[in-house]
Symmetry: D2
Subunit: 351 residues, 4 copies
């Protein structure tokens, strides 16, 4: 931590800051520049209880030097984490594709989607049973009924299942039916939910908040890891900017930045990032080329009648065509789209 | 709702869209322009289940005409709502000032703050018992102990109490100790929490999310009202922008915009909006002049040692000086700073 | 400047960075922390040619400590600048109000507006002769004819005149007809224009760019001052954010931030900040209360027929009513709306 | 154009708006909904002089239906434009790579860079002779001397040359020495410069402004095309957002969006988009995969000593390695990296 003092600060004020820093457990180191004095504060205390220093006389600015996260950081763990769920591996050379409808609407709709995405080569099924909707009057999900349908789809297809959780009271329920628990963008800083979900020890898909910095996002992952789950998958899904041509702005740079700062795998959600099915294939390709560990894509048997996110859902034919393209592209960046064999009860699809 | 068709759309496609709209319960009205055809869809169905239409052949864009909210809207209720909590009125000619520390740290700290802000003319005491912190290693609040201290401070000062709730499981607990339940910026779209809090029927202070549009925010208020609480106080606390000179960017325009769209009262939090105590007084004055119904301000007996938000907290002397300024300014815009007499057990301060 | 080295950096790399810094004229000071080493670089060299250091082996980050501007900074000049144009003073206790149409459309329109705003108490007339329009097909201004009309309006009313310049080739022409040369938001980083306008030595109204940080903006002012004009008036006119309820988001905090960092006066443009006439009065009041040195407001004799910016223009009656409100408010914050007597040929209006 | 009237609007007000629309040359079409009345205004007038309608009594909102641009739009020209400069084709199956230093610093530096990028397979040389720098004290470019060095580099390597122009007074000069004239992000709405550059009829590289919407950007291209140049190359270079981990946020979605809306080619600048050399290769790959027509990349013989943009510059070895990767990737998306043979005086590099 570097404390920058205002020009013309009195020596007494510098001393007071030094004293306060020592009281907090830091060693101090003063550098007197031509116009300003700066104080280096050394010690593994992080800046936790020291932010009030900014309010001391003569202090102009406080510049943190240490990263605020530890467990998620690549400084701690050099090797990239690989998260294994059944036969599905996330974070290594396999490119994971999660696909399915925004919301579970009925058993028929879900099963049709599940078989279609399995057929096309996806290895994880997505589908929301609890839907956080902007309007209280919109379809809010089938809740436990939806979870049961997801379990049935898993049984039939062998796909792993990821579904969103929105309430601490549902942790046990959702954990029972799902392989990966999803924290949505709107709950990325619902710290209680992060902690409770982390305590289950299950794999967690952590979507980036709509206006979360990468640091905010890694801190949210740190909450989950600190609570006990080491299997956090980060998911970039577009951030809020001034541009209105698309629903959100996909922050493609997040992939190399996260890969540098953290050992955790990162996937991309091109469906929420754009909000329009027509842009999904191009963005999915860019995600693979930039080095993402996977994709999560909305697929609906009949997008124009979807109860949720219809405009951004691919139909099964479009999804299948995209998967063909991704096969070749994945090989080019040293990855592969695996055949699915997770809990599979039928025959595997040859790839 | 207006459906804009692409140039060169076939008549058959227009018909299909019309049919789908009628199926959804809308009356339709086609306007053939020189280059594009648009379809007006009439009916009080809102755009709820009709967004998938964007995925139909020939559809270029769907433009909603109706607002997505009802209960919060001024179209429904022309007269501004006044929320009464004991003797405190929010939304009328009284200017409400809520003040106190970011977090309840100890009984001593809280009581010192409470007496100081009461002395200066505040009528509501703020203080967090459950703190949503970016870092899992930071102070997370005293929880129920903190709530008890707030209740004691209320007993001693007669101030009403507002405190944040972060988990659906705590609704009953927090409701027992507080007069106003606060939904923080990070939970503005924690829809379950909105619903549960709304069901208590208690007054709710709803902070604007960090990157929530005004429409998103009003929709969150709609959730609370739809669940049963009619006493929602909106709180603008700065939004996330590219500017880094301050912690957030206070969106001062939100006040006249909200006043036009909604009957609900709106207050401003200049402390979170800037993150620096030195800017709080100027912003507090601008908030009063723009027509806000009140302020919520962080005040700490010793900001440089605060466990949370020290840099943005005023000390009691600074807060008192600001309140003196606000008295005159409030009168100028047709408002007044009331004396506090809520549950008061001591004598009131003459103003 | 502080150079932060990566954890595990070799001593040799630290030495190389130190050597490079000394070569650039800095004294260096190494602090070895528990996990990271930082190097303090001392010397009044600013970070100008040293940014490439970030590319040296082992360097994780470079943190500037010194501000990049000098002439505009309050560190250099403690006393707030007052800019005098005839009898108009900007930056002291007088609150300057600049008003008039977006574009000069005709002599009749301009004179009607000029007399109206003078009558209501404005002391500077605004009006564009060169209009930077988003569309090449939109009205681009009357150019020199417009400048002549502005000069005639000044002759008749005694108001000072501010008008925008958009091309380095017009500097002499515009300087001949105007009292204050305006640099618009879109040209805030047209550095050639800044330099040329600065070389005239005339007062300059510098609008903040649509996505300029306060530091970018002060650097643009530094260009003008470095070129020779010391009379720079900063103008906050809203920044681009994700919010769409208004045209731009007025960054009201910019006023106290600029007042702290710089000695230059700052005014607010509530018309461009919102884009809607209905919100202008509330924002104008907040601007005065926050401590701005003045306002620039669009006034048109007939806004619904304006060739430019009609939706955000007040009509003369609305402007007059606003000015009545501002009189009282200005007094409250220790300012006053002066009577205009600049080059006045008629009688002054008593205030 | 759709005019939305407020609920409860009087018939007389609807009539007034209809009359005004007819006066402006529109046919009108009134739809009376259950709560609101909307007026469809038909006619190819665009919304140019009709924005003032928003200020008429009873008008709540005006929704444009037609795009504001024509010449750049794919509605006008279905086939993608291919821009030919010597043997370099931009917009077809060739993937154009422009590379070179941020600024021309010396003949030696430029020639070293030019030969290196040519060797690696680039076909266009970039290099700034006029540098728009945030600080007036930073290196501003070698001006005409720099242009001469670019011409010499072209002579020696056969590379086409792109360089930035920042002042209308330099149009003739820059046009004399360059193949493609670049409009930088800061001048994207310097409409005079757009017009003058367009009038030369030369190819123009138009960078997206830092906070320009895609529509703003296409309107800037419309300016150039309306002035006479049909050879506009769009360049996405990152937009300003709240994220600070990178210098700007690369808006990768801009590629499919622009491809849908316009026939013009679009390339990506991963160097400015991130500001860090370490992230450039990953983003360059994502750009190719998403379907961009090319790249512009900063390459400097010695980045840590560059006078400008050192942190984001690749050295020749890094650039060469990236080009090897792009060869394979380009083939995968149906493009190819052509051998350069523009005005070439030496032998071509076999690919």
């Amino acid at each position: 931590m570097i404390i920058v003092m205002s020009p013309g600060t009195k020596e007494k004020e510098v001393k007071q800051v030094e004293n306060r820093l020592r009281e907090l457990g830091f060693a101090t180191h003063v550098i007197v520049g031509e116009e300003k004095t700066v104080i280096g504060a050394i010690g593994d205390k992080s800046a936790l209880n020291s932010e009030g220093i900014l309010n001391m006389p003569g202090v102009e600015n406080v510049v943190p030097i240490m990263k605020p996260y530890k467990l998620v950081s690549r400084e701690l763990k050099k090797k990239s984490s690989i998260i294994q769920i059944g036969d599905v591996k996330i974070g290594g050379t396999d490119l994971v594709v999660m696909a399915g409808p925004c919301a579970v609407e009925s058993e028929e709709q879900l099963l049709e989607a599940a078989h279609a995405v399995k057929q096309a080569g996806a290895t994880v099924l997505r589908g929301g049973a609890f839907k956080p909707r902007t309007s209280p009057y919109a379809f809010q999900g089938l809740e436990e009924e939806g979870l049961k349908m997801l379990a049935e789809a898993r049984r039939q297809t062998g796909l792993a299942v990821v579904t969103e959780i929105v309430d601490t009271r549902d942790v046990e329920l959702v954990a029972r039916y799902t392989d990966i628990m999803q924290i949505g963008a709107r709950n990325m800083q619902n710290f209680r939910l992060l902690r409770e979900v982390g305590q289950t020890g299950k794999p967690v898909l952590l979507k980036r908040g709509m206006s979360a910095t990468i640091e905010d996002w890694l801190m949210a992952a740190e909450y989950i890891m600190a609570a006990g789950s080491h299997d956090v998958i980060l998911c970039e899904r577009g951030i809020r900017t001034y541009e209105t041509a698309v629903r959100n702005t996909l922050d493609i740079s997040a992939v190399p930045v996260v890969k540098e700062l953290s050992h955790l795998p990162i996937i991309i959600d091109p469906s929420h990032a754009t909000g329009y099915a027509k842009y999904v294939p191009a963005l999915a390709k860019s995600a693979v080329a930039v080095g993402a560990d996977g994709l999560i894509i909305e697929v609906h048997p009949n997008p124009s009648r979807a109860l949720c996110d219809g405009p951004q859902s691919l139909n099964p034919g479009q999804f299948n065509a995209l998967m063909q393209d991704l096969h070749g592209l994945a090989r080019f960046v040293g990855k592969r789209l695996p055949a699915c064999s997770f809990h599979s009860e039928g025959q595997n699809r040859a790839i």
